[in-house]
């Protein structure tokens, strides 16, 4: 399948009073048509900043994309004019945000907000846009969709609002849907409903998805490929099955070790990763995971590892071969 998005060497920094925060440090990935890419990592590892940089939604100042490219349909999103990127946002690449409570404007009706992308990007009348909005709401499983167009966000529950959010992001049938932790603010049963909904819509509409989460469990059933991020780097990147059966980077291994598994028999203690995530105030010149890594060797402290091929379509950024414990 054809590649629709290719991000290379993306670097984003924030100027703050304490110094420059190196939030994203050269991230590269690509996305094929209809494919689902999961980006996993703990809070503050640069997942959201990566996708927001792509769509230029980083508040600037203080944020700034300092290097890299994001090719979409032969155009570099990072170098596009404001007008060009505006036409892509919401119509071809759209986003679903984490907190459905705060991501809607409290004083505008749901119908207005859901219809808005269509009104902006295509020459339809308001009535047509509202009709389409009602269809979309019905599609994501809002009962009495037509009547609810005139309701305000506070009249919806959290799960319903996230459905509305998804309807809003898909109303222009985008090629790429970026879901930035869409289930984090919801309780577990609602999470499962949302994930099922997105899967169904993906099969119906055929868009590609970038799904950001810190929950490896959700990604397992949803993504085709997974990129694990740490300290502003993608430290491991693999097809989903390969990653779960054959994790190679010590951080990925740690993450998986901290998850309860139903498919492995026998009683096993869950492990945790010692230490705290790095403060990204210094330019990264050594492996950001080294301070927490039990495999770390001298080289990890002096040089940042590049991506090593460790399997079919599987890369890991680590100086140590964790299978053998030897340096590469």
């Amino acid at each position: 399948m054809a590649e629709i998005l290719n991000v290379q060497g993306l670097e984003t920094q924030f100027r703050t009073r304490e110094g420059t925060v190196h939030a994203v440090n050269g991230v590269s990935f690509s996305l094929k048509e209809g494919e689902t890419l999961g980006i996993v990592g703990e809070s503050g590892c640069g997942k959201s900043v990566t996708v927001m940089s792509m769509l230029r939604l980083i508040p600037s100042p203080p944020g700034k994309v300092v290097a890299g490219s994001a090719m979409y349909q032969g155009k570099d999103l990072l170098k596009a004019t404001d007008e060009e990127i505006r036409h892509i946002r919401g119509s071809q690449i759209s986003m679903v945000f984490q907190d459905p409570m705060t991501s809607f404007n409290p004083v505008l009706t749901i119908g207005r907000q859901v219809a808005e992308p269509l009104e902006i990007h295509s020459a339809v009348s308001r009535q047509q846009a509202y009709d389409r909005a009602a269809e979309m709401l019905a599609m994501v499983g809002i009962p009495n969709a037509k009547d609810r167009l005139n309701d305000y966000p506070h009249q919806f529950s959290g799960g319903m609002r996230q459905r509305v959010m998804i309807a809003m992001s898909l109303i222009c049938t985008p090629q790429i849907l970026i879901a930035d932790e869409p289930t984090t603010a919801l309780d577990v049963t609602i999470q499962a409903q949302i994930v099922d909904l997105v899967k169904r819509l993906r099969d119906e509409l055929g868009m590609a998805i970038i799904w950001i989460t810190h929950d490896l469990g959700i990604i397992a059933g949803l993504a085709d490929r997974v990129a694990v991020m740490y300290g502003g780097f993608i430290i491991e990147h693999a097809p989903v099955k390969e990653l779960y059966t054959n994790p190679t980077h010590p951080y990925t291994m740690g993450l998986l070790g901290s998850l309860p598994r139903l498919d492995v028999s026998g009683r096993k203690r869950l492990t945790s990763i010692e230490g705290i995530p790095p403060v990204l105030l210094e330019a990264p010149h050594f492996c950001p995971f080294a301070p927490r890594c039990k495999y770390a060797v001298d080289r990890c402290w002096n040089e940042n590892p590049g991506d090593f091929n460790v399997g079919p379509d599987h890369t890991a950024a680590c100086w140590v071969d964790t299978k053998t414990g030897r340096e590469r």
């Binding site: 769509l55 939604l57 404001d82 505006r86 036409h87 892509i88 946002r89 919401g90 119509s91 759209s94 986003m95 945000f97 907190d99 705060t102 991501s103 809607f104 404007n105 409290p106 004083v107 505008l108 808005e116 992308p117 902006i120 990007h121 305000y152 506070h154 809003m168």
Partner: protein, 331 residues
């Protein structure tokens, strides 16, 4: 909604009672009375004073006077004279033959309501308000959008002056600059029908409110700008101007609009210093004069009108809240 309004209006009754009680006590604690303190004029002889007191009921005990003011009392001839409960604010003790209602609300011959004392004060208050809003809201929005630039700092400078300097001090400076030096406005107008003589009093009166409006607009705009839904709007591909006008403005103006109701009441009722400085024929100056002259019923009447205005302004805030913010429901 209807029930809420009725309930709030009923609350006016205890408010008026308490306000009039306090005013009554304070007023009568001040030494002197309506007939004996006008040093500029010939003193009224004691016998006449006694007759006047008797005529107006000022010789009765204070509690009786208060009851007479609120409910009413029997005249000498046995007829009942209704008080505040009938909407009767009583006769003025100093302006012969006029009731308080006539002094405050009756326009001169052949003019409309807006030429009464109350009307003049309302007009001045509204002009001051317009000045405050037309300048204050855009200034606040621009300062927020251009936070920490020279535009923001200039507006901050003016706003700080407006908040910290009392308006009569600003008034003196502006009078010196624009009237004495530049001669662009006259401060002793022959007639208040001219437009230009309103400019200075309105600007001075509205200056503090303008500053507070700008400050509040800026603060609430800055808060709204960081909201998630603004990011959502941008992610939809909305043009920045539309993001500002459709998604930020309404949200950020909710607190501002709710401040404006009480501000208008404060401008209409709080203009007595400016009215006195400019010799303005409004209610505020009449109020100050009445206090100096111990014109008891005039003091009571004006205070109560002010109290009602403030109460209505507060009610209007609650009602505008409902219009602006769909999350708020009354009762």
């Amino acid at each position: 909604m209807g029930r809420f309004v009725v309930r709030r209006l009923l609350w006016l009754i205890p408010v008026i009672l308490v306000v009039s009680g306090i005013t009554f006590i304070l007023m009568h604690s001040a030494p002197g009375g309506p007939w004996d303190r006008d040093l500029s004029a010939r003193q009224v002889d004691p016998n006449t004073q006694r007759l006047l007191n008797e005529y107006y009921g000022l010789d009765k005990p204070l509690w009786r006077q208060f009851v007479a003011y609120i409910i009413g009392d029997y005249n000498k001839d046995g007829s009942f004279k209704c008080g505040l409960v009938c909407g009767n604010l009583g006769p003025s003790y100093r302006q012969r033959g006029l009731t308080i209602q006539q002094i405050l609300f009756m326009p001169p011959e052949g003019k409309n309501f807006f030429y009464s004392r109350f009307g003049y004060s309302i007009r001045l208050g509204v002009y001051a308000m317009l000045f405050a809003v037309i300048l204050g809201v855009p200034a606040g929005i621009i300062s927020a959008l251009k936070q920490n630039t020279w535009a923001d700092y200039i507006s901050l400078f003016i706003v700080t002056i407006g908040i910290s300097v009392p308006n009569f001090v600003i008034a003196i400076f502006l009078i010196i600059i624009f009237a004495s030096w530049l001669h662009v406005v006259s401060i002793v107008p022959r007639s208040w029908d001219q437009v230009d003589v309103w400019i200075l009093p309105a600007i001075i009166l509205g200056f503090g409110t303008m500053a507070r409006t700008a400050r509040l607009t800026r603060a609430s705009m800055l808060e709204v700008m960081r909201m998630d839904y603004v990011r959502t709007a941008r992610a939809k591909g909305m043009a920045e101007r539309l993001v500002i006008f459709r998604h930020m403005l309404k949200n950020s103006l909710i607190p501002v609009v709710t401040m404006l109701g009480p501000s208008l009441a404060a401008l209409v009722t709080g203009s007595f210093i400016i009215e006195t400085m400019f010799g303005f024929p409004g209610m505020g100056r009449a109020y100050v004069t009445a206090i100096g002259q111990r014109d008891y019923s005039m003091i009571m009447g004006t205070t109560l009108i002010y109290a009602v205005l403030v109460a209505l302004a507060n009610l209007s805030v609650d009602l505008t809240y409902v219009l602006l913010d769909p999350r708020i429901r009354l009762d």
